[in-house]
């Protein structure tokens, strides 16, 4: 089920501006890969390239290869709509659909892809909410609007919603940026669970978070990859002076 992500010599332009410069990175399956770096370093752009979110914006251009499993995502045989089902994404701001209940938010993807029918839907919704560690908190009010939950609950609802369509990879774009410490902790615990079944790529500003949850960390600066390696090694003994500067400035 889980698939690794392989990025080879990938570059990306917004109009004339190059924001990702010839990056190669391999995110092994069932591991958490953290992308860190200062604002504007291209980490979010890189993340959003993996599910071809940029196809929705005009004036963008990319070069290089990205594969999910064995498949080149830019090949003509790959439909971006189908790719996005296989590569789930969690955004910086929790975005439950405001017009739908908790239940319907999770069922949205099931209905979209016709993945379940009738009673099956209810079972799948419950399973996904359980997996997202939200079931106990919402089982009494499944039919209330999802937007009425707390920020952290909303984000877990979004994870449940993404789980429902059976993705192979999870992309997370600063999922805790708008959450309080308790909400953040719950999401981090959840990511620890998710990596048993999925490949996770996470963009984060929070160095502590990267060191706590990731197996592998990549440090980006000005669109270039400065360093990538096992998280512990990167944090304890960075090879590149720029990484060290960033980490010490950030941490110390």
């Amino acid at each position: 089920m889980a698939q690794g992500v392989n990025i080879e010599n990938f570059s990306f332009w917004y109009g004339p501006t190059q924001v990702v410069k010839n990056i190669s990175l391999s995110a092994p399956e069932r591991q958490v890969t953290a992308l860190i770096g200062p604002s504007g370093c291209g980490k979010t752009t890189l993340l959003r390239s993996i599910n071809r979110m940029h196809d929705l914006t005009t004036g963008t251009r990319s070069e290089g290869r990205i594969t999910v499993g064995e498949e080149d995502i830019f090949s003509a045989a790959v439909d971006p709509v189908d790719l996005r089902r296989r590569v789930g994404m969690i955004f910086q701001t929790p975005s439950p659909f405001p017009h739908l209940s908790v239940y319907e938010n999770v069922a949205a993807g099931l209905r979209l892809h016709g993945l379940a029918r009738g009673k099956e839907i209810a079972e799948r919704v419950e399973a996904c909410l359980c997996k997202a560690a939200l079931w106990e908190e919402v089982k009494e009010h499944l039919h209330r609007p999802g937007a009425l939950l707390s920020g952290g609950q909303q984000q877990r609802l979004c994870i449940a919603r993404a789980l429902a369509v059976e993705p192979e990879v999870f992309l997370m774009d600063e999922p805790c940026a708008s959450l309080d410490p308790v909400g953040t902790m719950r999401i981090e615990e959840l990511i620890g669970e998710l990596k048993h079944d999925y490949t996770v790529l996470i963009v984060t500003h929070n160095m502590h978070q990267a060191s706590r949850i990731s197996d592998q960390t990549a440090f980006l600066l000005n669109g270039e990859m400065v360093e990538v390696g096992i998280t512990k090694e990167i944090f304890l003994a960075p090879q590149d002076p720029r990484t060290e500067a960033y980490l010490t400035w950030k941490i110390g």
Binding site: N51, G88, S95, F97, P98, L112, H113
Partner: protein
């Protein structure tokens, strides 16, 4: 704060300045109250004379001082609703096309053009309806409908080119720019995050439109439609030009009819006493109906959404201002 306020009253010029602006603001309130009370006061004799039978009888006979507004009421409601039936798919479709399917570069000028057409005066829409649309409905489409669908009561009788159908179409064209502009604004106000969340689940663009964008902007679109309805109900000149002005219950879409506003336009010069009062009663009803519709519309447009992504209320209000018409 208290200190500053007191200080501002100290100088007499300051006091005068405050007083003048205060009077101006009061004047605006007084104007609306004045219009409402003077119109209803002058409408009162007709209401006393006929009461509810004004709203339930069909004879409108100024010669014998008998006034029943049913044909005008039916004509007003019928043309306005038909106009909305035609305008809704066109304007919502256009709004979707402009906001969701066009690249930004083309969207700006095209939306601007559509909005600009809201400023074209209604008499020009009436002129076009009378000399371009009406002949076309008389000969081309009208002939076709009478020949092939004439057995249906709604297409019974000869198509004269002017009547209920023509008025409804002219009204539909008139309200189209307004509904399109407001719906477009509401649609563009849907947070990018929601669109992206749906795309990220593996939805096609159309699925994003129907499952996220339209449901979340539904209140705003309903508000836009209500505003269009209010405008269609109050429209006078364009309708007067193409409805045929026959104070009868329309028997088919081709039949001439009358609306409340067109009745006033046609009869105000010769009206006095009870007749005038009856016309003012129509005006008072128009006032109340459009007021109610506009208040409900504003409530829909401004209804707080559950996730507090409030759009700029004032700019939406600016949209509610009339641009053309009259």
């Amino acid at each position: 704060m208290q200190e500053i306020r007191r200080a501002s009253y100290s100088g007499t010029r300051e006091g005068l300045f405050h007083y003048i602006t205060f009077l101006a603001a009061l004047g605006l309130v007084a104007l609306v109250l004045g219009i409402f009370f003077l119109v209803t006061m002058q409408a009162a004799p007709a209401w006393r004379a006929f009461g509810f039978s004004f709203l339930t009888t069909s004879i409108w006979d100024p010669m014998h001082n008998e006034f029943g507004a049913v044909p005008a009421l039916v004509g007003t409601v019928l043309t306005a609703i038909l106009a909305l039936v035609v305008a809704t798919p066109l304007s919502v479709g256009t709004a979707i096309f402009l906001s969701e399917m066009l690249p930004q570069r083309l969207r700006r000028p095209l939306s601007f053009m559509v909005e600009l057409l809201a400023a074209v005066p209604s008499v020009v829409y009436g002129l076009w309806g009378l000399f371009v649309l009406a002949p076309w409905l008389r000969t081309g489409v009208g002939q076709f409908l009478t020949d092939h669908l004439g057995f249906l009561p709604i297409f019974a009788g000869p198509s004269l080119g002017i009547g209920v159908l023509t008025s409804s179409l002219v009204l539909a064209i008139m309200v189209l720019p307004t509904i399109t502009a407001i719906s477009g604004e509401v649609i563009r106000g849907v947070p990018t995050g929601l669109r992206e969340a749906m795309y990220a689940l593996g939805a096609t663009r159309w699925e994003v439109i129907t499952r996220v964008i339209l449901p979340t902007s539904k209140p705003g679109i309903v508000g836009a439609l209500l505003l269009g309805l209010g405008r269609a109900i109050g429209e006078a000149i364009a309708v007067t030009m193409v409805i045929g002005n026959a104070n009868l219950l329309p028997r088919s879409l081709f039949a001439p009819a009358q609306t409340m506003a067109s009745l006033i336009v046609n009869e105000f010069p010769e009206a006095f006493d009870l007749h005038l009062s009856a016309l003012l009663l129509l005006a008072a009803l128009l006032f109340l109906i459009t007021l109610a519709i506009n208040i409900i519309a504003a409530w829909f447009v401004h209804r707080p959404s559950p996730d507090a992504t409030a759009t700029d209320k004032e700019s939406v209000w600016a949209r509610l201002l009339p641009k053309g018409g009259g």
